[in-house]
């Protein structure tokens, strides 16, 4: 694995669209070539080298390429968008759409991220040490095919509309979640280790949600069916088990109706 280190030396005045910062685009390129990749500040297109200093070179393939992003990237968006393999480490905060439409590989953000991170994710891993904004692991606007696979792990709190239209994959939230979790979900798992606010699992057809703390305003479309012991993220605990959303259509599999599940820890 070869490493490319890019350091934000001249921070943008506006927000920077950094969708070209991926192992896929860096693979097979020398530092000078990487510095010529396009980034956009508002509608102005510039080479990456205008903002970042580039050291090192990409590996032969995306899988053999690791990118370390240094400097304060609070105003850099879309790092790792649509990446298929390789690794990115962002040593600061980052803005929106980090790891959006990701298919593989790993992104590790050591600070906070803003909204729409891991949106439309199909595979790979997105690890955030701080907090995340809204629409984490959600589907893009209008799209009914949301997160298909992969893992998102956020240590802190997240904003609203997490995992809308989730179809697969896992989202683990260390802190609290704001309203709307797994709305329209048809699969996948969301684990909230803190508290959830309201509208958890609205219009959900299939899939699982675990809440370790409390749900401030649970939805009436979910019905308590019992208590179960489950192993979640490596630890076993006792949960109250709810099924729903009873106002929504539900598929029948092998003669049994499939519901979405919400588990709250007892």
């Amino acid at each position: 694995m070869k490493t490319v280190t890019i350091t934000l030396a001249n921070p943008p005045e506006l927000y920077l669209e950094g969708q070209n910062i991926t192992p896929d685009n860096f693979a097979g390129k020398k530092a000078a070539e990487i510095a010529t990749l396009d980034v956009w500040e508002g509608k102005m297109k510039s080479p990456l080298g205008k903002y970042f200093t580039v050291e090192g070179e990409g590996g032969a393939t995306a899988a053999e390429t690791k990118i370390i992003v240094r400097g304060d990237c609070t105003r850099v968006k879309r790092i790792g968008q649509q990446m298929t393999a390789g690794e990115i480490v962002i040593e600061s905060n980052a803005d929106m759409y980090i790891g959006g439409w990701m298919k593989g590989g790993k992104i590790h953000v050591k600070g906070n991220v803003d909204s729409f991170c891991g949106i439309g994710m199909e595979g790979g891993e997105l690890i955030v040490d701080g907090k995340a904004g809204c629409h984490l692991g959600s589907s893009p606007r209008g799209e009914w095919r949301g997160m298909q696979g992969g893992l998102i792990r956020v240590a802190g709190d997240v904003g609203s509309d997490t995992a809308t239209f989730i179809n697969g994959g896992t989202i683990i939230i260390g802190g609290d979640a704001d309203i709307h979790v797994s709305t329209h979900g048809e699969g996948g798992t969301v684990i909230i280790k803190g508290n959830a606010k309201a509208r958890v699992g609205g219009q959900m057809v299939k899939g699982d949600i675990y809440v370790y703390g409390t749900i401030e305003n649970p939805l009436p479309g979910f019905k308590l069916v019992g208590e179960v012991e489950q192993e979640v993220d490596g630890e076993t605990a006792l949960f109250a088990h709810y099924i729903g959303d009873l106002g929504e259509r539900h598929p029948v599999s092998k003669g049994k109706t499939v519901y979405a599940n919400i588990y709250t820890r007892i």
Binding site: P140, R141, G142, E143, W144, R249
Partner: protein, 570 residues
């Protein structure tokens, strides 16, 4: 405007019977002229290339409120599917199945099309339709107001008042600057207001107590009474359901005994649109099968009918139609988002995304049925290429449809991707058809035929002196056709040249200029009719949400009109 000469191309002009002869085409002041009339023309070398008139699309949903609903509620149709702004175009482009107005105009031009007939205009929303026509660059547009569920029409036809219905039709064509009589699921969309439908042509409409058959016959009579350029344009009852081919044949039979009366060279009294959706046998989606052969047997032996295909292109697309109950039915099938609206006394509409997948048996059978229709056509001047854009696929796939029609190998290649190939072959006859259409037949199905059926073949669809100088040049050598069918699709996707109104508009597949576009509409002169005037006044007073003076299109909404005048008082 200058002079142009297109030299040495292989010219295909079915309206004049020109079958690939090497000819020069002269252009002066936006019109085709004899080459002898040119003094000092600029030359375009078309040696080794195919020259046709600009394409004419008889049925496509490109402008208006339901198209815009499709744009609004499918942002995902734009995501990663919108090209960066072309440096040679004035405006940026967006969307795939429901492209932005600008992309619509540019993409039609890139394919060598110059005229597109909007398939359904809700009369109440005609200002929206005309504003979008204005914003769709390059291509000339007409729009057909829908009549098949209109309360005025239903009332007049119930009492068999053809003359009154004709006066109302003329008034509405003028009020909306419309082009022809469109009929969508006659009676069924009105019945949808009661949560019902008209499943066959003898199923009466609630309250109005009139049958779809009576509506269709009445509108044919109205159309021929007025002598409009285009015929009655029908979207059949019970569309999109297994076993509906008998209903379609019943609808066809309604045209029997009628002969066209018009001064526009039109020979049909009924155009039936997107017939692919109307040619299903079987009694459920489990055993649905093709009845395209039966449908085409009828069409081939009855000269007063024209049809278009509605070819499924196996893409993710957006369905939209004034057939409200059908869209509701579709939503229940695929559980995706659904938009629905009712348009007061006139019509309704629905919009649902749909994925035609090569892994789904019904979709691949639909694909085969569309192609069968065109391949069984004995008279390509009466069967036209459409995808009912965007219902069966986006119009940008016409080149792919042409490829399938011109190449058995291309059809086989596509069929290899089918999950249910055996079932598709069992349920259709596509595998037994070896016919490959010629460039001349393609010219018939994409320009000459539609122009004739629309009654505009004196302006569009041909290359005779005096017609609009709309010429498409494709990089295809008829004497040395490429062995790879992909090259056919490429050539028709991006024409080598499009000349629109004598202006070089597309060059090497790129839009290089944006000549003024027009709105084509039909102004019919009818005798003064006091009763109809009073009916209009009364209905607007009692039932409409707008006043009649605000309803009629304001002149400022109408963009660069080209009026086709009809005098029915003679």
């Amino acid at each position: 405007m200058g002079e142009l000469i297109i030299k040495n191309g292989f010219v295909f002009d079915p309206l004049q019977g020109v079958k690939g002869d090497r000819m020069d085409i002269g252009i002066k002041d936006g019109k085709i002229v004899e080459t002898t009339a040119l003094a000092n023309p600029k030359a375009i070398d078309a040696a080794g290339m195919t020259v046709m008139a600009g394409g004419v699309d008889i049925h496509s949903h490109v402008v208006g409120p339901k198209v815009n609903v499709g744009r609004l509620f499918r942002p995902e149709d734009k995501l990663f599917k919108s090209p960066h702004k072309s440096p040679t175009c004035n405006r940026m482009e967006m969307g795939f199945s429901v492209p932005s107005t600008f992309k619509t105009g540019y993409d039609y031009a890139r394919m060598g099309y110059v005229f597109v007939n909007e398939a359904a205009m809700p009369p109440l929303h005609s200002p929206h339709v005309h504003e979008e026509i204005r914003d769709t660059p390059i291509i000339d547009n007409a729009a057909m107001p829908v009549f098949g569920n209109n309360w005025f029409t239903l009332d007049y036809l119930k009492n068999n008042e053809i003359e009154n219905n004709a006066a109302y039709t003329a008034w509405l064509l003028r009020a909306t600057r419309g082009f022809a009589i469109k009929v969508v699921n006659p009676g069924g969309t009105e019945a949808w207001g009661w949560g019902l439908n008209c499943d066959n042509i003898h199923d009466p409409v609630p309250y109005f107590d009139i049958t779809p058959a009576e509506i269709v016959k009445g509108l044919i009579e109205t159309n021929e009474f007025l002598g409009l350029p285009h015929s009655m344009h029908l979207h059949c009852n019970n569309l999109g359901n297994p076993g509906n081919y008998t209903d379609t044949l019943d609808s066809f039979k309604l045209a029997e005994g009628y002969t066209p009366k018009n001064n526009f060279g039109r020979d049909q009294v009924m155009h039936v649109t997107h017939v692919q959706f109307c040619s299903y046998g079987g009694d459920s989606w489990r055993n649905v099968e093709s009845r395209a052969d039966k449908i085409m047997d009828y069409v081939n032996s009855h000269e007063n009918i024209t049809i278009d295909m509605g070819q499924v292109t196996l893409d993710e697309t957006t369905t939209m139609t004034a057939d409200g109950p059908f869209e509701h039915h579709l939503r229940a099938l695929n559980n995706l988002k659904w938009a629905n609206t009712d348009v007061e006394l006139e019509t309704a509409a629905g919009v649902v995304p749909y994925i035609y997948s090569p892994t789904v048996k019904v979709c691949t059978i639909q694909w085969a049925i569309g192609l069968e229709l065109a391949l069984y056509a004995k008279d390509p001047m009466r069967t036209f290429i459409t995808t009912d854009h965007p219902n069966a696929g986006p119009f940008t796939r016409y080149p792919r449809v042409i490829k399938w029609l011109m190449s058995r190998a291309a059809r086989d290649e596509t069929m290899k991707t089918f999950k249910w190939l055996d079932r598709t072959i069992e349920s259709t006859t596509i595998d037994s058809i070896d016919r490959e259409l010629t460039l001349y037949e393609i010219a018939q199905m994409t320009r000459a035929g539609p122009a004739k059926a629309l009654g505009i073949s004196n302006i569009y669809g041909g290359l005779a002196p005096g017609m609009d100088a709309d010429v498409a040049i494709y990089a295809l050598n008829p004497e040395d056709m490429p062995s790879d069918p992909e090259m056919i699709e490429n050539a028709f996707s991006r024409c080598a040249y499009l000349i629109k109104d004598g202006v070089v508009t597309v060059k090497g597949g790129e839009v290089v200029s944006e000549p003024a576009k027009r709105t084509v509409w039909v102004d019919v002169k009818v005798p003064e009719n006091a009763q109809v005037q009073r009916d209009i006044y009364e209905h607007f007073l009692r039932h409409y949400s707008v006043g009649v003076e605000n309803y009629k299109l304001f002149e400022e909404h109408l963009h660069n009109p080209r009026v086709i005048e009809v005098d029915s008082t003679q």
